[in-house]
């Protein structure tokens, strides 16, 4: 039996190689994902481990329980001194951070994350890259990437904006490597100062943590006990270094876990697609071998032997493909890491940790899936009657069996579940739950369509085949007939592509709808030509800026806004005379005419949350200062930036609004030329002022969304590639199966070119079938999800990106032509006489 199996594998190498490619791609994707996840975890762990390295004791302020404290108590210099003096403490340093505007080489400020650098060298969280660490209060070190993006070089002065936008100048003495962590991935700038210089930026703020390292000869526990004795544990949380490390690592796992889950979801899609391709291939292989298997039965092979021979073949194939896929997956991971680093325009080291889990997963996936996919065909093989060997024509009619009742029932059941979940989800208020429920519903519907596949092939094929039939004549007619001749096989072949296209178009439609909705919102929100905002979020704009802007001759109107943060929302203060022109919210009840001193117009969403309506009195309690009672005079919609608007005067009752402006809206005079240049003349000298136009804001937003979309296209692209291999696979096998038929057609007068054309059209038809159904489903599901996302306050309109869909369809056609290339070549090369002789 073994010899027969080996001989069989040898004889069918070409067909098996094709199927192996599909498996290998699936395995590559799964391993690639796992390796990437491990690599990211490892690098995050390294980073966080740096935080905890050499730390033997950590003291943090335990602020969680004290309720009435508006001022978060920090660690006073006295406490720090006590810790330093505790027996066994070799060194102790405060840990803290604050966002400080850093003035880049172009004179513009950007928020930077500032930290004090520990005086005890062992307690520093970073590794020096170049130069040295600052030792004096007027020296500074910056992260390597920050130095590059802000164009700072060692020896140059660096300016930070302190309180009241005071300029503090430092000399850059060194750069350090922050490594890959959330901050660096988020593109944050990072700077380090001496503890004194750091404290000087905001003197009244005490640090929230002190870390200490133990002197030789003391255990962590001893030092912890000594520190506790020295400062008492009232209001402090004292941890050993070990506890701190453990806590940090838990945080890491939770954060990077999300990303790995996302990647795994894509890997599962790729795997499902690969499994379908494999299943289909084996089904066809077995069908073609009917005579051979029957002959084996004739000469005395038992059913079990036939079953095992098919499975053994699958096992060999699965193992081989798993090895190739595993290696490929490591490559995929390296590639993805490079891509991520390039997004980040930072550098990073590609790491490829290979764990036992990954290897086991690769083999389990590649081998198990292959063997499982082969079980059904193998079972079918055992049913072959020995007499089938004697029949002259291998009977493929049995495969074209009628659609069973079970199939229809399953589809109906899935359909009902799907529609139910979709409808239920659409009715839900909570966006996330609605997304999830409706999303699950759409997947059930996808399942229903997959099950119904063989029934859909006929009609879809007739519709899609109409155009080529009319344009390309007989070869296209034959191709269309071929695509429809075995609905089960065609359905299984196109299903893989269908899944890929459904998900790509779903994501594309939802993303584009969200983008358009956001763009529309920006248009609505920004009736002004320009908005001046602060580059650093907690630094308001100076009031003089509004006056200077108003004085510009090209400017028609200027409206500054203030912001008030309450406990459950935040509110905007605008000049009374800007309402109705620069601010145009839609009023749902009450009237904006009544908006005056001591009143507020709230957003509909907030009104619901806070349970207020026109006439109610709303008490707003800011973070600092006293609560104010405001009368609600209107409920508005569409002004979505904040939870409510009040007049500038009313907002000034709150201390935080008095500090400066949150933004300044600028409207140019009609027909003003070079308006932007005139406005820039005012904003340029101010390091904080950022000039935004609605168009630019949109541009930024769109860029971000496009990046996300590109990433998803790339991920699902792999599933689509696997699916196209499936088409090539099926086509190759069909060509082999139809050798005699092709020869007959050639004898009857079909030219080589026409024969090739016929196969190309067949391939394109199959690809289009998958793509067309996929697109319909994807767009439909996209509509479902946008509806689910919409609620009373947000309405996401369905936007179908025809351009991108066109690209997708064109891609499918081109890929289908490529997929048909080899099989078509082979078919056309076979001589008529040789073809007729094939049994």
């Amino acid at each position: 039996m073994l010899r027969t199996i080996i001989a069989g594998l040898k004889a069918r190498t070409a067909r098996l190689v094709l199927s192996s490619v599909a498996i290998a791609l699936g395995v590559a994707f799964v391993t690639g994902t796992l390796v990437l996840g491990d690599a990211m975890n490892a690098s995050l762990r390294d980073e966080f481990a740096k935080d905890a390295r050499n730390v033997d004791v950590s003291v943090t302020v335990d602020g969680g329980s004290s309720e009435e404290s508006t001022e978060i108590p920090g660690i006073t210099p006295e406490t720090l001194a006590k810790i330093r003096q505790a027996p066994g403490v070799a060194g102790a340093d405060p840990r803290d951070s604050q966002t400080v505007p850093l003035v880049a080489a172009n004179g513009k400020a950007k928020p930077a994350f500032a930290v004090p650098l520990a005086s005890t060298e062992k307690l520093r969280e970073f590794d020096l890259a170049e130069g040295r660490y600052p030792t004096k209060a007027d020296e500074i070190a910056v992260d390597k990437r920050t130095a590059a993006t802000a164009k700072l070089t060692i020896g140059q002065p660096v300016v930070l904006l302190g309180k009241e936008d005071q300029r503090h100048t430092y000399t850059l003495v060194g750069t350090y490597q922050q490594g890959t962590n959330q901050l660096s991935l988020g593109g944050f700038d990072h700077i380090g100062l001496t503890p004194d210089a750091f404290q000087a930026l905001e003197p009244e703020r005490p640090p929230y943590q002190v870390v200490a390292t133990a002197a030789p000869g003391f255990t962590q526990q001893q030092v912890v006990d000594n520190v506790r004795k020295a400062i008492g544990d009232n209001g402090f949380r004292i941890q050993s270094g070990e506890e701190l490390t453990k806590e940090t690592l838990e945080r890491v796992e939770a954060r990077s876990g999300e990303f790995t889950t996302l990647l795994l979801a894509f890997a599962i899609i790729a795997l499902v697609v690969a499994a379908m391709v494999i299943y289909n291939t084996f089904t066809i292989l077995v069908a073609q071998r009917t005579r051979e298997l029957a002959l084996m039965r004739c000469v005395g092979a038992s059913r079990g032997q036939v079953f095992r021979s098919v499975l053994a073949e699958a096992l060999v194939m699965g193992l081989t493909a798993s090895v190739i896929g595993l290696l490929g997956g490591i490559g995929v991971s390296a590639l993805l890491q490079r891509v991520m680093f390039s997004f980040n325009d930072g550098e990073g080291t590609v790491t490829l940790p290979l764990t036992v889990t990954t290897v086991v997963a690769a083999f389990a996936v590649g081998t198990l899936v292959t063997v499982l996919a082969a079980v059904l065909p193998a079972r079918k093989a055992t049913r072959v009657a020995p007499v089938a060997a004697l029949r002259s024509q291998p009977d493929s009619g049995e495969e074209v069996s009628r659609t069973g009742v079970v199939r229809v029932l399953t589809a109906v059941l899935l359909g009902v579940i799907g529609v139910g979940a979709v409808v239920f989800g659409m009715g839900m208020d909570d966006e996330e739950a609605a997304m999830f429920t409706s999303g699950a519903g759409t997947m059930a519907l996808l399942g229903a369509v997959l099950v119904l596949g063989p029934l859909l092939v006929g009609p879809v094929n007739r519709v899609l085949g109409a155009l080529p039939r009319a344009l390309l004549g007989v070869p296209a007619k034959l191709a269309s007939a071929n695509a429809g001749r075995n609905p089960k096989r065609t359905a299984a072949t196109t299903a893989a592509l269908m899944i890929g296209v459904t998900i790509v178009s779903l994501v594309t439609v939802v993303a584009n709808s969200a983008k358009e909705t956001a763009n529309a919102e920006i248009d609505e929100r920004m009736p002004a030509d320009y908005t001046v905002t602060s580059a650093v979020y907690d630094r308001p704009l100076p009031k003089e800026l509004a006056e200077q802007l108003a004085a510009v001759p090209e400017v028609a109107k200027v409206a500054p806004t203030t912001v008030v943060f309450g406990e459950r929302g935040y509110f905007t203060g605008v000049p009374r005379d800007a309402i109705g022109n620069l601010f145009r919210p839609t009023v749902t009840s009450g009237s904006l005419d009544d908006l005056g001193d001591g009143t507020i117009a709230v957003n509909a969403d907030y009104a619901k949350r806070a349970n207020v309506s026109v006439g109610s009195v709303l008490s707003i309690k800011p973070g600092k200062g006293e609560a104010q009672e405001l009368k609600v005079v209107a409920v508005v919609e569409g002004q979505r930036l904040s939870d409510g608007i009040m007049t500038m005067e009313t907002s000034l009752r709150f201390e935080q609004a008095a500090a400066g402006y949150d933004s300044i809206l600028v409207k140019l005079k009609d027909g003003a030329v070079n308006g932007r240049a005139a406005v820039e003349k005012v904003t340029d000298p101010s390091p904080l002022a950022l000039l935004d136009s609605a168009a630019e804001t949109k541009e930024q937003l769109n860029q971000q969304l496009n990046q996300v979309l590109a990433f998803i296209w790339a991920l699902i692209g792999l599933a689509v590639v696997i699916a196209l291999f499936g088409i090539a696979n099926t086509l190759t096998l069909s060509v082999l199966e139809r050798t005699r038929e092709s020869a007959l057609l050639r004898a009857l007068g079909l030219t080589r070119g026409q024969l090739r054309l016929m196969l190309v059209v067949e391939s394109v038809l199959m690809a289009l079938m998958g793509a067309a159904i996929g697109l319909l489903l994807g767009i439909g599901f996209g509509w479902v999800l946008t509806e689910a996302l919409s609620n009373d306050t947000i309405s996401v309109d369905l936007v179908v990106p025809f351009g991108q869909i066109g690209v997708m369809l064109a891609g499918a056609v081109v890929a289908a032509i490529l997929a048909a290339a080899l099989p078509a070549r082979r078919a056309a090369r076979t001589s008529v006489v040789a073809g007729m002789a094939e049994a």
């Binding site: 034959l478 009857l748 007068g749 030219t751 008529v832």
Partner: protein, 250 residues
């Protein structure tokens, strides 16, 4: 060319001169056709017979332009075909040659009617409806036209193949063991039709067979052995063919 005409006064449909076809190379080379010169008159039913390995199928493939030759020439209706390229050969088959094979004659995806008209469609020609009806009625296929090949019996399938071969009014119809897969009654029907298409419809049919009974339907039998012509019989009967074959075998 006139040297090839054997039946004076009758047009020659197909003629071969000094045909050579060699399979393999060097020591293992087999001369499947070893200098065969033969001609087939238009409007006649000729059978090519011989034991297996005699080269009868190879001769037919070469005559029909399905296979290339290693020497000699083939003429179909005045066209020298051995020098033609694949495109011209394909066009020639489309327009001037009909085929009936032993099996796999029909495309399973097409109905009987579509199968019959396939050759014409490939050639981009309009079918002659009257002629089509004549053939369909003679073959008794009228109520089978909408059926797929899998829904037809073996005899019906071969009759559809005959109809397809004749519907384009080719210069010649090549039939390769057309009854090889049929029971004797269905076989007789197909052979009757082939003979009638020659006698009444004026077609030219060249049939390869190893069955003396089938050969007895022909006007003339050409005998082959070891890649050469080994004689011929005019107005054959099953008995005369059988004894000639026995003679060859001996």
């Amino acid at each position: 060319m006139s040297a090839l005409v054997s039946d004076v006064g009758t047009r020659t449909a197909v003629a071969a001169a000094n045909l050579v076809k060699v399979y393999g190379k060097g020591d293992t080379a087999v001369r499947a056709l070893d200098g065969v010169s033969v001609s087939f008159a238009a409007g006649r039913f000729t059978a090519i017979m011989g034991p297996s390995g005699s080269g009868k199928s190879t001769l037919m493939h070469c005559l029909a332009g399905l296979d290339n030759v290693d020497g000699g020439s083939v003429d179909i209706g005045g066209t020298e075909i051995t020098s033609l390229g694949d495109k011209e050969l394909t066009r020639l088959r489309r327009d001037r040659v009909g085929f009936v094979f032993q099996a796999f004659n029909l495309l399973p995806t097409l109905t009987a009617e579509a199968n019959i008209l396939l050759g014409l469609e490939l050639a981009g020609r309009k079918p002659d409806r009257e002629w089509f009806d004549t053939i369909v009625d003679v073959l008794g296929l009228r109520d089978r036209l909408k059926h797929k090949p899998t829904e037809l019996s073996g005899g019906q399938q071969q009759r559809v193949a005959c109809a397809r071969a004749l519907v384009a009014r080719p210069d010649v119809v090549f039939a390769d063991e057309p009854t090889g897969n049929l029971d004797s009654r269905s076989g007789a029907e197909v052979l009757d039709f082939l003979r009638m298409s020659v006698r009444k419809l004026g077609q030219t049919v060249i049939m390869v067979t190893h069955d003396p009974v089938a050969a007895s339907y022909a006007d003339r039998v050409v005998l082959m052995a070891d890649g050469r012509l080994a004689g011929e019989i005019d107005s054959p009967t099953a008995d005369s063919v059988l004894s000639a074959l026995k003679h060859l075998g001996a």
